[in-house]
């Protein structure tokens, strides 16, 4: 059982199942593209948030085996978040079905925030491999940190595109609270270190 949980192929498959169901539904009846825009976007957000929560949870709870497990598979979570984002964009483009109108909407705040987040996701997904990690060195980490502005863009995209702020907050507030705790802990530790230094000197 535990070994199954460590099989990367199985994890990729599990992460892909909702997407496969969405694509199957779309193939059966393309009219559903409109109804699939929201769920595909929501899956993308959820996977991104789970991936983003791992580090702050470790900072707050310390090392836990289930957090280590999540951390070991963070890349899969992130790439899957990109995958659902791409699916979300594909359903949107299909539903629009008119390049002129797509261009007209692209300048609306709620829409360009989505495109901007998608660009960040694409750059992160494209570099989610060992070779890019080696090549980019310290810049790799900097690039992956773009997930923070991407998260802000996505929160705004969600809020403005359909105004359902309750659903948006339900997803983002837990992450925000964790990040605040993480920063507070970091500052506390830093000042404790400084105090110790001051005593030694």
């Amino acid at each position: 059982m535990l070994r199954i949980l460590k099989n990367p192929r199985l994890i990729w498959l599990v992460l892909a199942i909702p997407g496969i169901a969405m694509v199957a539904g779309f193939v059966r009846d393309p009219v559903t593209a409109f109804d699939l825009i929201h769920p595909s976007g929501e899956y993308s957000v959820r996977l991104m948030i789970v991936a983003m929560m791992i580090s702050p949870l470790r900072a707050v709870l310390g090392r836990r085996s289930w957090l280590d497990w999540l951390l070991a598979h963070r890349r899969a979570l992130g790439v899957a978040a990109f995958g659902y984002g791409a699916l979300h964009l594909a359903f949107y483009l299909y539903d629009m079905g008119d390049w002129g109108m797509i261009a007209e909407e692209a300048v609306i705040f709620s829409i360009w925030t989505g495109y901007a987040a998608m660009l960040i996701f694409a750059a992160m997904a494209a570099t989610s491999n060992a070779a890019s990690q080696r090549m980019l060195k310290a810049n790799w980490k900097r690039l992956q940190r773009l997930v923070y502005p991407a998260a802000v863009l996505i929160a705004l995209h969600w809020l403005y595109v359909d105004g359902e702020w309750e659903a948006m907050l339900a997803h983002f507030v837990p992450l925000l609270v964790l990040e605040i705790i993480r920063v507070v802990l970091m500052l506390k530790r830093r000042s404790a270190r400084r105090a110790k230094h001051a005593m030694v000197n």
């Binding site: 409109f34 109804d35 539903d95 629009m96 008119d98 002129g100 109108m101 007209e104 909407e105 609306i108 705040f109 709620s110 829409i111 900097r142 940190r145 773009l146 923070y148 502005p149 802000v152 863009l153 705004l156 809020l159 403005y160 595109v161 359909d162 105004g163 359902e164 702020w165």
Partner: protein, 103 residues
């Protein structure tokens, strides 16, 4: 671009959005006080009227006591529109959260 600068850019864009067009922020959207549903026109009637006017209706439902319609206007814009369920008057049209018509 440094991380802090990127965050600042997003914050600036958001602030600009809020200050430039507060009306563009269409949340809570619309409330209708149209009495009991027995006095309402049917949603099917609204849909056929819209189709006759050149709209494409993707979906419609009741929201905030109004009829809410997702569809495409005769001008080709993908919108979310609110109608009064008794008078069938158009109350609000929002294109991806940007208000393009308000009664």
């Amino acid at each position: 671009m440094k991380f802090g600068q990127a965050m600042l850019a997003v914050a600036a864009a958001t602030a600009m959005q809020f200050s430039a067009s507060p009306a563009a922020f269409a949340t809570g959207k619309m409330k209708c006080d149209a009495g009991p549903q027995s006095g309402w026109k049917s949603r099917t009637d609204l849909e056929s009227k819209l189709k006759k006017d050149g709209w494409t209706v993707k979906k419609s439902k009741v929201d905030g006591g109004c009829y809410e319609v997702y569809g495409v206007t005769p001008e080709g814009q993908n919108v979310e529109a609110y109608f009064h369920p008794v008078t069938m008057e158009k109350l609000l049209v929002s294109q991806r959260g940007k208000v393009i018509f308000k009664k």
